[in-house]
């Protein structure tokens, strides 16, 4: 643990301090700072990382691996601000469990305990809160994780949005497992666990002002079991990532940047269900940037790739798993897609969140 460097109660002096983020560009927070893309990354890099310091945060993974009382523990948190609270196939309660369980799973850890913080907006119906809590409890039971501590705050009407949720989770990392974005190496095979974009499109379909009917439901699920299955094949998985905000595009870019490798994916190998493709065509979105919850992308050493893929295909949550590309030494930090026609395009880190386009 880091040594205490300041006296207890000493007040930091902000008078001479200036924001390390180029303020000309973003004097105020915009939606994109929460979109999981380049703006989010800049905020972490320029504001949070220097403020908090510490070698573990600098790892920038979805979760931190720490040692406590001799145990190797994965520790992660996420806040959930989804609108609407309930959507086809799930709710903010499911997301709050599965999001954190999955972040832990992405370091190979099986989630054991969750904390849960509710920020309720004055005026939200108690029945809505109860439905969220029920969904959260049911999702926790399904994932085999226990909610052991919590907190509730209420904010004035007009300063929230019904229910915001935060969960943090801890789980033990098995011996011999070291899964981090930095471990991607050229030659790794890139595998996704199934259909992409389903969760994001399901949520969008009920978002105010955008409503459309679509015959899909969020695939939101806890991936701990799938990861256990994969680790049973080999502990030598290099990278796991749940491509949530910013979608597969953001996840691959983050891995490429963290490991200093290039990634090449074959567009026609990527499983995108027809309704997702149709909704994206209608709204001008790219399925590569649509959020998922209940899917993972894995970077697996070539020699284990077939066995890992077979194990995934045998698991209910990996039934539509597919090899979609590989890790290369070229164009480090960049993700390139071979298009269905055989062309090439750069899959950039999205700046903020995707918006419906007309052009």
């Amino acid at each position: 643990m880091r040594e205490a460097t300041g006296a207890v109660g000493s007040a930091p002096d902000f008078s001479g301090w200036s924001c390390p983020l180029p303020l000309r560009d973003h004097p105020r927070v915009v939606m994109g700072h929460g979109g999981g893309g380049a703006l989010s990354a800049e905020l972490v890099q320029h504001v949070f990382a220097p403020a908090f310091g510490g070698p573990v945060l600098a790892g920038l993974g979805d979760s931190a691996a720490v040692t406590l009382g001799g145990a190797r523990i994965a520790f992660s948190t996420d806040s959930f601000v989804v609108r609407p609270l309930f959507f086809p196939g799930g709710s903010i309660g499911d997301l709050a469990v599965n999001g954190t369980v999955n972040d832990l799973a992405m370091s190979g850890a099986k989630a054991a305990y969750l904390s849960c913080g509710f920020i309720l907006e004055e005026g939200v119906e108690t029945a809505v809160v109860a439905r969220v809590a029920q969904a959260l409890g049911a999702a926790a039971r399904a994932a085999g994780v226990e909610v052991v501590t919590g907190d509730t705050k209420v904010v004035e009407a007009g300063h929230g949005d019904g229910v915001y949720l935060n969960t943090a989770g801890i789980g033990q990392i098995p011996a011999g497992v070291d899964i981090r974005p930095q471990r991607a190496v050229p030659g790794d095979v890139v595998i996704v666990s199934g259909d992409l974009g389903v969760h994001g499109i399901a949520v969008m379909s009920v978002r105010e002002g955008l409503e459309f009917d679509v015959e899909i439901e969020s695939d939101c699920a806890a991936l701990g079991g799938l990861v256990e299955t994969m680790l049973a094949v080999t502990p030598e998985l290099h990278v796991l990532r749940d491509p949530t905000r910013g979608g597969l595009g953001a996840a691959l870019n983050e891995i490429a940047a963290a490991a200093g490798v290039g990634v090449v994916i074959q567009e026609r190998a990527i499983p995108v269900p027809a309704p997702v493709a149709s909704a994206c065509a209608l709204l001008g979105l790219d399925p590569l940037y649509v959020a998922n919850e209940g899917k993972l992308v894995a970077f697996v050493p070539r020699e284990h790739a077939d066995a890992v893929l077979d194990a995934m295909l045998a698991h209910p949550l990996g039934a539509r798993a597919a090899v979609i590309g590989e890790c290369v030494a070229d164009h480090p930090g960049m993700v390139v897609s071979r298009t269905g026609l055989g062309g090439t395009r750069v899959v950039d880190l999205p700046v903020g969140e995707q918006l419906p386009r007309i052009c």
Partner: protein
């Protein structure tokens, strides 16, 4: 400009004096204004842009276009699958 996509008209109804339809875009269904294609019928396809059907899609013409492409088969052997061809050129 002009992200416009083909959709199939499902049900048509009047709403506040406006001709509207449920339109199916390959599994995604949305409300669309038919005022600019007053004689569009259920089952037909149209190009839809920002919630408005702007032009009926003509199936016969589409088939003719595709047939034409298929007949451009002269150099097919040389290329085979386009993606593989591109791949080869890259090696």
């Amino acid at each position: 400009m002009c992200l416009a996509v083909p959709g199939r008209v499902m049900e048509i109804e009047e709403r506040e004096g406006t001709r509207m339809a449920r339109v199916d875009f390959g599994g995604v269904v949305k409300d669309v204004c038919l005022e600019y294609l007053p004689d569009l019928r259920e089952g037909e396809y149209a190009i839809v842009h920002v919630g408005f059907a702007l032009q009926r899609l003509d199936e016969e013409s589409a088939r003719r276009t595709l047939d034409l492409f298929a007949e451009l088969g002269l150099l097919q052997e040389e290329f085979g699958d386009a993606w593989e061809a591109a791949e080869e050129r890259r090696q």
